[in-house]
């Protein structure tokens, strides 16, 4: 029995390396994408975003503020403008991504005890830079204002400078980032994308190879071979095993090689990683087996799933919380293994979670796996009996 199963498994595995479409999807895609996707984020964090300052005050204090802004790591003060229109044009030309306006009479107003507002304008299309530029300018403004405020407190309350400082900020906060400590953008995006690469290439690959079908037309010479036309359970589980073993190697490759190359934290313990691999690959393989019986052409799965990659990635909620998306979308996401695989992978691999911590996601993938297994077997059985013209499959 095991010999028959393994014969089907190795016959299918051989196909991964001999069928040109399969080589591309099941072998090359997993390697190329793992190195191709992270390349935009090689620098990991955005530093020195080009910005400008419109100095309408032109005093010692405004120059001090410009100096303070120049010292900020997140921004690079490229230009100091004399009027606002120049700054607007420079932002439209793409030379700068934001600017701060130092108002006329700033120094005089501060010294006479009035309140001054610094307006910072950032490019609305680049939300990520908005945060960086805003924080850098706000910190400079706050630092400049702190000196004045401490002096005012000391004079008003008749206390020494140390007490005045304590009264200004009585309980400072200290932020400790537990995971992704450097705020790396690649560390935030790429681990989730890696899981998606595995799922998408696996499903498209299975659809391209016809899942558990017998007598696959594209096999030409081998169309009538014994391994190709085993009874349904052998065909289904034998081929599934080939996909499972192949993709388990990919998970190990990502864990040991890709994570090292891109310097991602690797906190996954062996046991949770193994459990994750088993439930995630089972769910994805069985979903692929279901979908492969729906398409009549080998490339249809690829054409459709390429469109769905973006929605599927966002449905995994790595960037936008699940409770903020419409209910029907949250319900729809329940059919996709990646919706649970991405948070499970992030918990296990990035945060070092154990099986118990990740169980809420692992159990759901287990349920998906069982449902898709039943559906996959049923559809493969029906396809075997069907006389429908089946394109090139």
């Amino acid at each position: 029995m095991i010999k028959r199963l393994l014969k089907v498994t190795f016959s299918e595995w051989k196909l991964f390396f001999t069928d040109p479409a399969a080589v591309l999807l099941l072998v090359i895609a997993g390697f190329i994408y793992a190195f191709y996707y992270p390349t935009p984020y090689l620098k990991q964090v955005v530093t020195e975003a080009p910005v400008g300052i419109v100095d309408l005050d032109k005093t010692a204090m405004s120059r001090q503020l410009i100096q303070m802004s120049r010292a900020a790591q997140q921004i690079d003060v490229k230009y100091v403008f004399d009027d606002i229109h120049q700054a607007k044009l420079s932002m439209a030309d793409g030379n700068i991504y934001g600017y701060m306006i130092i108002p006329n009479n700033m120094e005089r107003d501060i010294r006479t005890g009035q309140k001054v507002t610094l307006n910072v304008f950032t490019h609305g299309a680049y939300v990520m830079l908005h945060g960086n530029i805003g924080t850098a300018f706000a910190t400079s403004g706050l630092t400049l204002g702190a000196e004045t405020k401490i002096k005012r407190i000391a004079l008003d309350k008749q206390v020494p400078a140390k007490s005045a400082m304590a009264m200004r900020d009585p309980f400072p906060i200290q932020i400790q980032t537990l995971y992704n400590r450097t705020g790396s953008y690649s560390n935030y995006v790429v681990p989730s994308v890696l899981v998606l690469i595995l799922q998408q290439s696996l499903i498209i690959g299975i659809c391209t190879l016809g899942g558990a079908r017998a007598h696959r037309k594209f096999r030409k010479k081998k169309q009538e071979s014994a391994a190709e036309n085993e009874s349904l359970p052998y065909r289904y589980f034998g081929r599934s095993l080939a996909y499972f073993l192949h993709y388990a190697c990919f998970i190990a490759f990502y864990h040991f090689v890709v994570y090292n190359v891109f310097d991602f934290p690797r906190r996954g313990e062996p046991l949770p990683m193994i459990v994750f691999a088993v439930v995630f690959l089972s769910a994805s393989i069985n979903l692929g087996m279901v979908l492969s019986q729906v398409f009549l052409r080998r490339e249809t799965g690829m054409q459709i799933f390429l469109f769905l990659s973006i929605p599927i990635l966002f449905l995994s909620n790595f960037s936008w919380p699940r409770y903020l998306i419409p209910d029907w979308m949250a319900a729809l996401s329940a059919i996709l293994p990646s919706s649970y695989a991405v948070p499970a992978w992030l918990s296990i691999q990035q945060m070092g979670a154990g099986i118990q911590d990740a169980s809420v996601f692992l159990v759901k993938m287990g349920v998906q796996s069982v449902i898709y297994l039943g559906l996959g077997l049923l559809l493969s059985f029906l396809r075997d009996k069907s006389k429908l013209k089946t394109g090139d499959m």
Binding site: L89, V116, H123, K162, T177, P311
Partner: protein, 372 residues
Amino acid sequence: MLKDFFRAVKKIYLCNNIVLWMILLVLPVSTSIFMVHFFSAESIQRIPIGIIHYDYSKLSERLEYSLSANPVLELKLQCSDFSECERGIRRGEIQAFIVIPYQFEKRVLRYETPVVPIYSNGQYYLTNMFALKEIRSVFSTIGSNLFTRHIKEPIKTEIHSVGNSTGNYQGYLGLGLVTSIFHMSSILIAVYVFSFPLRDRKTKEYIDAAGGSRMILWFASVVPLILISWFLMLAVYTYTHRFLAPLTLNEFIMVGAGQLAMVLACTGAGISFVGITGNMRMATSVAGVIGGPAFAFAGQTFPIIAMPFFVRCFAFLLPLTHLLKIQSQMILGDVGLIPSWDSLVILLGMGLFWHLLGGRLIFIRWKKWNHD
């Protein structure tokens, strides 16, 4: 000639081909609308956080009350110790937690400035950014009002996002994603239309339908494809843009021209991929490799200036990068159209290049397949 043109159009587009209309119409529109509505909450709210109290005092209660009252935060977990809250983070139940230290209020009143540690999960970057911003704001408001309520900060900084004043993610990410989806669909549909006669071994049939003219077949294949993709993109873009500041007519025309130029460039690229690879499966794979991750390279989420030089060169070759640049320039308002001309010229240049290359290659293929 016109008769041959329409006969060929009918043969290509009205032949009961479900996959063709799925790729041309149903999938680009439905996935675009899906993505726009995905961000219907507009910005991140109700972020779950936890708290550990080592001090039960009026001040700590006041802090807790202010955190609960903040619409962006939701105080979800009261932990008895550090490990309980840390587990909450690992399980995805909370995003951050605050530790109120021992004798907090007493030390504050003695001007000892006790430090309040805040532990947050940097893995969920965007949510973390929002959570920390709000926690900082709550603490600084209460802190500054404690002893020096009547002495205001001398300098206040107001941060404005030009063209997206409310920081609306539905508009900001929606626009980029819609453009990205049409970028990919324009390449994919061109691959499909130009490769299915080969796949089904019907090249001769299609050339015959075009009166034996490859030029007419070319126009019959390309014109409806470009027009349908462009109109759909324009319609979905208009639908999405209502979440941002309105455009003037001139700005809308500039964006429309940019979108047409991008569709031209992408369809030309798709035809060239078919011409180079000679089959649908390979050409679709190439289209997927280039079109799939294009959004990550186009600079809207992670700025191009922060990418390595070779990646910037690749980003420059993507039509999507230039259209996103035009679209983002248009949301800035009263700066005129001049800054966008360069991007439009680059896109038109790309369109011309890819169509000339694709045309040459596909004509050679058609000649060969027609004889075969």
